[in-house]
Symmetry: C2
Subunit: 388 residues, 2 copies
Amino acid sequence: MTEPTASEHRRAATPEERSERGGEAGVTDVSTPGRVAEPGEGITVDELQLAARNHGLPLEALRYDVTPVGLHYLLVHYDIPAVDPDSWRLRIGGHVERPLALSLGDLSERPRVTQRVTMECAGNGRARLAPRPVSQPWLVEAVGTAEWTGTPLAPLLAEAGLGQGAVDVVFTGADHGIERGVEQDYERALPFADALGEDLLLAYEMNGAPLPVQHGFPLRLIAPGWYGMAHVKWLRDITVLDREFDGFQNAVAYRLRQQPEDAGEPVTRIEPRALLIPPGFPDFMSRIRIVPAGQCTLEGRAWSGYGPVTAVELTVDDGQSWTRAELGAPEHPYAWQHFAVDWPATTGRHLLSARATDATGRVQPVQQPWNRGGFANNLVQRVDVVVA
Amino acid sequence: MTEPTASEHRRAATPEERSERGGEAGVTDVSTPGRVAEPGEGITVDELQLAARNHGLPLEALRYDVTPVGLHYLLVHYDIPAVDPDSWRLRIGGHVERPLALSLGDLSERPRVTQRVTMECAGNGRARLAPRPVSQPWLVEAVGTAEWTGTPLAPLLAEAGLGQGAVDVVFTGADHGIERGVEQDYERALPFADALGEDLLLAYEMNGAPLPVQHGFPLRLIAPGWYGMAHVKWLRDITVLDREFDGFQNAVAYRLRQQPEDAGEPVTRIEPRALLIPPGFPDFMSRIRIVPAGQCTLEGRAWSGYGPVTAVELTVDDGQSWTRAELGAPEHPYAWQHFAVDWPATTGRHLLSARATDATGRVQPVQQPWNRGGFANNLVQRVDVVVA
């Protein structure tokens, strides 16, 4: 049994290493502390740079049960890495009895499972918050549903032989960058009990084709029900720890805090949300919708990482009254459900929202839930419609 | 021979039609006039909405000769339409002797051609301009190169029998919306002589697979060398006119103007541009690059819609000195060319740029070329690098 050690990829470069590469001049300058925007402050060029490379689901694409590749939301923390699939190996090590190194061929010979999973970025909705946390500026569109194919994780962990007293399991990707002054490969841990869940997959296909490079080729973790930060892409190391993981993405980044100095609670599963397929057609610049007066069917999708959605309600008067929608059955336990409601659209301007309730009783709020990272914020969407 | 008539899809709804659908209340309010941002004005929520749905090429993906689906830049003017491929027909009509209606099957039986084409949005670079035209806020990343497969357009026009005195050829898509108060299906005309070019394709495949829905399924025009606005997606009508087309996207939108009241010049072919693959690795929020000191190869891609790129020069000191890069041959006449130059990276902060010159003598400017739409602006990219 090997003792877990701090991975070479799990920390910032040491001062000695920086010195070896020619001094520290300016390196610490590239990262700025996290902050929230000033009142009235427009979106910054830094935020726009992230919005231009990462992208959301165009909301009309909620019409598809399974999101076509290229329309599923995408968040890349650093750069998309170029991984050579032939020399690539998945290593399973740390607090285990028999460390493993598996090729793509090895993985493809194991049991093959396909799961339909709705995935959402933990920062979805951030740019609508007031004050606005300055980071990837999602509005409401950081979501998608895909068919992920791969092999279950739990049997592989069993094969490696888990040591007694395992606490966390760390998933390390090949995505390299610096964030808030910490140089790192992107990596996230799951609590041991969650990592052993029978629904976790090591996925090598998306929608029936090899993983697109931007979605983690050659392999990514799929952790159904969790926000996207847990589904580590370009996966290359799984490390079992006999202590709590203190890496950046768990201990610093993805935490719910009111003040910068708070320890904060970890971001985990997806809070319930409903999104409408915007009805009618849009104005190019404002994206306000034009809907012909008369009978109209409002449709959309709703999901929760805590269980099935049990109710969706709609308002066409900005929350003054709510109508219960017809809700599709949860045919796939981790995929969004369809909802629909008829609306006799009358001339004038309307603000439309849908709100979801899940089997655990969680209800989408109509007042913003705020934290400094803008995480797990499931404030209802508002769709601005002119009926004419 | 049928007389060309104004297409039912080529104009705003009439007041009578608006009245029939229940009055005009608010419809004209959804569009605002074009404008440029105030000095110091941050990116607006309207611009962010566009940035969150449309997306650029993540610059590290310049490493691929052919851009994988999902990484190619994408601009959708209104909504991605849902087109039923079975009932869909391409109609060729207007000022022709024999109007045609062709199914996907009909098109697939015709000569099949594949072309590698670099496509760029005419608004690329807009959000870096000062003052900033308020529209889709591209920085420098609105580009991609794909292998498009389809059938040449010119033989189909010949088969339809062009009437004498043909002036413009209009391409109409199924993408429906309102823009600056004008309700429309997206459509653009090419001058007759350009539409007859032997390099124009009606494409039904991208990178060897059926067109992704967001790239125009089931059929789009490919007009190699032209900015993206000419490559009409979700194509369903080709209309030959014996007069100049006065539709919105030609007469109003895509024009180079200094003042709102200018008639302006039409936006046409792609101005030369070079983009660097950002070296090293990024900071998450600022996207500033960290590069280890020592020998480094700077690489990128360069293209022009007017002919091959004949030179690329690089600066590592924000334009004080320029070095000639090694430039790949133009193996595909409409695809970008690779360039590379060795750089002995020394500690400190550097601003890197590349500039392209093409066979017609056009050179990328280091001072911004400005117009109110922010079109055809090929100001050199600036890559902010810390060598450590």
